[in-house]
């Protein structure tokens, strides 16, 4: 078993945020982390989702492939990746608001990311994660390929968590 646990929490409607979340998870595995993958639920109601067939289709698929976040996940994780689509960060913000007490999250790493590093989607998540007591590590990378960039980010936050654990040991 690895010494670093990475929780990948994402919200996705059409699969774009899912793809970067998965790439971050692969990067974490490459850096020898244990990972868990979780999709947060839509705020939209079923009628709204059904009105857009691609959304419904992807939702049914993702509901099969992923489980929702579980209460024990945040305590297990050293790093929590928070992946959001560029146009809807409310679901991930709500997830951050549901995290346990600041005392129990202190020092844990939050790794927010969005396709194209969309600042307008990321800033509320930076704030929500910081309010939860987490250390926020922005996803800025040099790579132009978003999948490669997400993979590098997964590696980077895993290595960072490993270093922090060594320092605090």
């Amino acid at each position: 078993m690895s010494d670093v646990n990475v929780l990948v929490v994402f919200y996705s409607r059409y699969g774009n945020a899912e793809r970067i979340a998965l790439a971050t998870g692969v990067g974490a595995i490459q850096a020898r982390a244990n990972i868990r993958l979780r999709r947060v639920a839509d705020h939209a109601d079923a009628k709204t989702i059904d009105a857009t067939p691609a959304w419904r289709e992807n939702l049914d698929r993702m509901n099969r492939d992923y489980v929702a976040p579980r209460p024990a996940d945040p305590q297990w994780a050293d790093v929590t990746v928070l992946a959001t689509p560029p146009d809807s960060c409310a679901e991930i913000e709500s997830y951050c608001a549901s995290l346990p007490s600041i005392a129990s999250m202190r020092g844990k790493i939050a790794a927010p990311l969005a396709p194209r590093d969309e600042e307008s989607a990321l800033k509320p998540i930076y704030a929500a994660a910081a309010c939860a007591g987490m250390v926020v590590v922005p996803a800025k990378t040099e790579s132009g390929d978003p999948i490669a960039a997400a993979r590098e980010y997964g590696q980077r936050v895993t290595e960072m968590a490993r270093s922090l654990k060594k320092l605090s040991a």
Partner: protein, 236 residues
């Protein structure tokens, strides 16, 4: 030396949608006496309910073979591979430096029964890869059909794995037998997938496994009234 691992002594997980027997320690079943045999680390006998399966999860540094006995298994991974695996096909995924995949029963109405095998690779940090191929069922009737091995090319085709190990499959009718030599210094594992067989005089039933060391040959004989299916692993 032949050491029988009885089906009823295996670890067991029942999640409702998943009924799994673990020949070696796996997940919540942890027995230090059964952590694997040579490079063979996991041998799970899984029955998955219709439409259910294993959601997205990660692997690293493991050669993962799936062998469907009955039904179909839908596979999807972070390499972009998306396939359905059935009987008389083999799937070999080399997790290497890291891969995320999901596996589901491909049927919405019928259960799937498959064996999942994990073999520890000889080298870590390899580039992840995926292979799947079908073979005629006649090739394993009364014969050991190579399913996976360390040779890049083999005839007939077999999956490549990054370890000095070979996995064979065979189907034996009542009284059919196969003789297999074991090279000096090699070990073997025999797993009964269905039916019942006799190996060098040791009676084995479905789910039983047999660790083989310091033997020069094996006689595998079908002892079931109908057909029996087995896997044989040749291990360093």
């Amino acid at each position: 030396m032949l050491t029988l691992r009885k089906a009823e002594d295996r670890g067991h997980t029942d999640l409702g949608w998943l009924n799994s027997y673990h020949t070696f320690s796996f997940g919540g079943y942890n027995d230090p006496k059964h952590m694997g045999f040579r490079a063979l680390r996991v041998l799970n006998d899984d029955r998955v309910a219709a439409g259910k399966g294993f959601g997205a999860h990660g692997h690293r540094d493991m050669e993962i073979l799936s062998y469907v006995i009955d039904g179909g298994l839908a596979h999807k991974d972070s390499m972009g591979e998306q396939h359905v695996l059935g009987p008389n096909e083999v799937q070999a995924m080399s997790a290497g430096s890291g891969v995320i995949h999901s596996e589901f029963n491909a049927s919405a109405t019928s259960p799937t029964h498959f064996l999942q095998i994990w073999i520890i690779p000889a080298v870590e940090d390899l580039k992840p890869s995926y292979q799947q191929f079908a073979y005629p069922s006649s090739e394993k009737r009364g014969a050991l059909r190579l399913i996976a091995g360390p040779d890049r090319t083999s005839n007939p085709a077999a999956a490549f794995i990054n370890q000095d190990a070979r996995m064979y499959a065979a189907v034996l009718g009542a009284g059919d037998s196969i003789d297999q030599a074991i090279r000096p210094g090699r070990h073997a594992w025999v797993q009964v997938a269905t039916g019942a067989i006799d190996v060098n005089g040791v009676a084995m039933k479905e789910g039983d496994g047999l660790a083989v060391s310091e033997e020069t040959s094996l006689r595998l004989r079908g002892s079931n009234a109908g057909e029996s299916e087995l896997l044989l692993f040749d291990l360093a």
